[in-house]
Symmetry: C2
Subunit: 609 residues, 2 copies
Amino acid sequence: MPDETLTLRILPNEKWTPVKRETTARDALLKSGIVLHDYCGGEGRCGKCRVQFLEGASEPTTADREFLTPEELSEGYRLACQARLKQDAVIFVPVEHSRPLAGAYVHDVKNDLPPEPEVKKIHLRLSPATIEHQLADFDLLREALKIPSLKPEYEFLKKLPHILRSNGYDATVTLFGDNCLDIEAGDTTYPAGLGVWGACIDIGTTTIGGALHHLDTGRLATRTGRLNPQTVHGADVVSRIMFASLSPANLDEIRQMVLDCINDILSELCKSAGIGLEAILHVTLAGNTTMEHLFLGIPTDGLPVAPYVPVFKDGLIIPAADAGLKIHPRARIYVFPAIGGFVGGDTVADLLVAGLENADKPSLMIDVGTNGEIVLGNRGRLMATSAAAGPAFEGRNIQYGMRAERGAIDRVVIEDGLAIHTIEEVPAAGICGSGLISAVSALSKAGMIDSSGRFITDTVKGMSERFSRTEGGFQFLLAGRNEGASRDIYIHQNDVRQFQLAKGAIAAATVILMKEFGVAAEKLDKIYIAGAFGNFIDPADAIRVGLVPVSDEKRITFIGNAALAGAGEVLLRADMRRRAETLARRVEFLELAGRPDFQDAFARAMIFI
Amino acid sequence: MPDETLTLRILPNEKWTPVKRETTARDALLKSGIVLHDYCGGEGRCGKCRVQFLEGASEPTTADREFLTPEELSEGYRLACQARLKQDAVIFVPVEHSRPLAGAYVHDVKNDLPPEPEVKKIHLRLSPATIEHQLADFDLLREALKIPSLKPEYEFLKKLPHILRSNGYDATVTLFGDNCLDIEAGDTTYPAGLGVWGACIDIGTTTIGGALHHLDTGRLATRTGRLNPQTVHGADVVSRIMFASLSPANLDEIRQMVLDCINDILSELCKSAGIGLEAILHVTLAGNTTMEHLFLGIPTDGLPVAPYVPVFKDGLIIPAADAGLKIHPRARIYVFPAIGGFVGGDTVADLLVAGLENADKPSLMIDVGTNGEIVLGNRGRLMATSAAAGPAFEGRNIQYGMRAERGAIDRVVIEDGLAIHTIEEVPAAGICGSGLISAVSALSKAGMIDSSGRFITDTVKGMSERFSRTEGGFQFLLAGRNEGASRDIYIHQNDVRQFQLAKGAIAAATVILMKEFGVAAEKLDKIYIAGAFGNFIDPADAIRVGLVPVSDEKRITFIGNAALAGAGEVLLRADMRRRAETLARRVEFLELAGRPDFQDAFARAMIFI
């Protein structure tokens, strides 16, 4: 009935959308492609999905009253999962829910070598067969290309004869290796035509990033990112695996979410580059093992229980149409090979950027995320492990946490008073992973955190008044509304504990890995740190909080979102795919589960130096 | 409206089918899967589509009166393409339109070697991965099978984990080469389970034959055949190419016809063997180049015009679902490689049976059909050509012609009177290709045909009265209604001319081929004759009419429908596929079009010796 349909206006995006009466604001926003931060799956238990009703706010619920102050309630703030729409409404979605900034987590693909992509277009001016030289159409191509192993793709053959004859045997062939994917009339190679385009995708648990490359020149055309919409089924991989394992329909649903998101990303990339989706002929995808399985709709049931095995670890080449990507149907997608169930294709992509295997001296690569992956090694041997760091470094489970995006505090300095820096230097809206590291480092350096991680509230003059007592312990004011922040932003004692757990897991895993490899920290050549937050960490902070086992800043290199960059490398150079496969096979996986020495190391790594 | 729907009863099949008023009998029968002999595509110009109305005959048309005698008309005979149904009817479809007899044209697959099929099922009892030996599910298989290059099929991966765990890691894997096609719980290998099944298909211009093999044992389970339904768009390949070239919809239509027919054949094979269609994991198909293109929906426009080029000559391996075959979706179909535009995959399949390339001495292989293919050679060199023989050897363009099936005269002897033999020794219904050869040979031997092919009506005592004069020349009564035949069956002077043209084309092509190869007839080791009619030719007749260039009967071997048999060989042995591909590349094609020496040879070959 028409009177049951309401209109929802969404700010700051300026979206208008019809919604059914009694729909929750969370579901209505989700339908409009806006995924809110939440941990509880819409049950009103985490208090993270707050939005501001400028018009049409519903009555506050018990959950609203629990998580929001009376002032916030009167300003129209509500938990989106609790607010059922009963009239036309205008909702303002706060910055912490908005799309991540692409620039904040994409590392540029290295362009030291000229592009040599696996997908190529070749322009041919052929001489038609004659009665004396009676070649089949396909053999005419084979002869011209001088590739005896050239293979005809079935659908390609259907198109071949007309295209050849429609333009006087002047045509452009698209090859993937020795496979003929397509043929077009005339010269469509670059610069006469568009040439060959490809996209790389990093399927993160939290964020999905994508970049579009012009493969003839290697040029990065554009990049973007989205929250992984699977987040509505849980922030971590295990809750998504649980959801997917309940039924084939669930697996299909969670697969479709990531597919839709990647198709959206590809659409946006093409739109912003001014090309059609059919121009994309190659997509490389790197993700952790769970993300890659779910993207392909392959069951993940074996991953969360011992012996923690994935279904496959091979790199897979699949036609785009089979995988469900709406680009050129015969484009190839490449799903990165994995090292193990919890050291996935994203780590392999990281390694393509870090290049550990090219040196004699062992180096360390740490990808800091909800799951931390650590690889140690050199030319001779490579070992990897993973540690459940929890989402603290991604700004989750942190009282005022947010992702590394516009408005996030990413640097904290305590010297002659307190100074903060925010991404894009706008009023502070929350604190991201690098901000958390920086804050803990600053507090520790100033003597305001002891070696056990406890706040000491009275050591620094002028700082004591920034501490306030809450039910769960002290909290420290990083930025106040009266100091220009969009709200009062605290770091809580619990946040420091979350940080200690995350840092401790990674540092302990690093210790065990060094022990198994048989190398001392001082013998390590370089430390590469990858992760969505990585661009902004001060090496001194990483050292001070004990995230890395060295004390020399010069040895630390931040490689940003190396997973996306590594996926881009494979897009640009066919030999990089083979290197990825060799790496995935070569790296030894070290399982930490059930090791008593890991528990010891973990307990020790929780302590600040 | 219900009163517009009539009921048609079809005899002798005892089919009942609803039809719309005003439908022609031809279209109604076509819908019931009965394809009538005709050449004119339903235009009332060839007079071949006669059927007998036992009830409900419509008024005779002008075309009916032209092709049928008043007596036939009164008996209910009508041209099916002219007879529009206006009431419920009972139609008797004469034997010459009925399904070809499978046994008459299928040559048994040779079973000298044990089967070594490309598709295999392997039963595995695996030890699950452990925390110490943490293999991905797929790597567990790879390790157990000891195939490092083992490849995971995407759809296979989706199924893998549940099947493994549902039955305690006791499962059966289906492999095509090193590709994993399927996994089933428990032991499904033979004899614990059904094992592996495959079908071979010969896509002839006129007839499509199929055979079902149990690949574990190599046993031929069953075989069958159908008229190629594309026949409604013309009896020869060129008229079908013309039809297909008019529009993509036409190409699609003519493709769907052969697909439906092959799917029907596969259904029937499985039904009669008591297995499901999903049990078929491999289908090999051999046809002439046009038939293979049309089966795949690949345009054939280039074939009928100089330089007569096909789109592809490669052997193609395609998943069944992509090709449109309704068997196991991940089964593989193999389309035979071709030698040239008019020497197709069926000739390559023939060669697998004839085995010319295994001997030092050159031998000759002739596949007699609408298009005759001739291959000459030995270990060192193989040359092929083709000759447009016309459909006389398939019983077409012959006054009383029919296919080699029940009731066809297949042998004629004139010695102390005339004797005929019919297939299955039932009353004669017409004359087939081998009967035509035999009749011409007998008439020639008796001196009743001169060297130019003219009837001599008065040479043999007691035979003169069998000749009768028609407008177009004399005809000779082979079997009279009063001698037990189902009708008077004549061989007409024109039939002898048709035979001369067909024989002349093949014999002339053979002469040119021998000349180009540089071998004299007496140096030939063996002559293999393949074709749907071949089982029944007397070698002495083949020699007497000059179909073969030798005079020693012992050198002649009939290999029947060698195309189907050769397709079966590939089904049973993976190495045969590689042999087919080597052969297709090795055989040199000799183009006869435009060669003056061919015209000379053709004129000479028309003459009887």
